[in-house]
Symmetry: C2
Subunit: 100 residues, 2 copies
């Protein structure tokens, strides 16, 4: 199984209307059929520790049965639409793909 | 629900015997009863992109029903033993706690 985690930071001058629509955009992404499980959310208020990064705005954590399913997800029209709509708002994106 | 993700990088001079035992240490951690689901693994060979960090050695991704369960996990004896055994081998640890 593959766990695909993505952390998003918005630009300071990102369009507020787009930022406000971002959660709905994440929700639409999760309809892509190759996804086994999808969760998205914001930083939890765990006690501050130097090892914790809670500076991101949104996180998306998805599981795929295998790498081929992940690759189909990346190429899917809904994913391409998501990138087209929102990628201009991101200052930073950090991805971790873990084989578990 | 809380998704607690931890990425581990070993020191270049970490004790090879400890490094070899690390996977078994992760496995023991997952016995802590407050964990809802736990997965651990290594970087998947997704196509290289600048946004992907695949430089870590191991990742641990756990879900908890709530923050209180996570806090009990952090304090659990098995977690404390894990820290005591392995924390000296880590060059870097990166944690993301996401409320989903």
């Amino acid at each position: 199984m593959l766990i695909h985690s993505v952390y998003f930071w918005f630009k300071a001058d990102a369009d507020p209307a787009l930022v406000a629509r971002f959660e709905a955009g994440l929700q639409r992404l999760t309809a892509i059929p190759d996804i086994q499980a999808a969760h998205f959310g914001r930083p939890e208020t765990t006690p501050k520790r130097p090892v914790i990064d809670d500076s991101y705005s949104w996180a998306l954590i998805e599981t795929f049965p295998d790498l081929a399913a992940h690759d189909r997800y990346q190429a899917h029209e809904l994913h391409q639409q998501f990138l087209e709509e929102f990628s201009g708002t991101w200052q930073r994106v950090q991805v971790y793909d873990v084989r578990v």
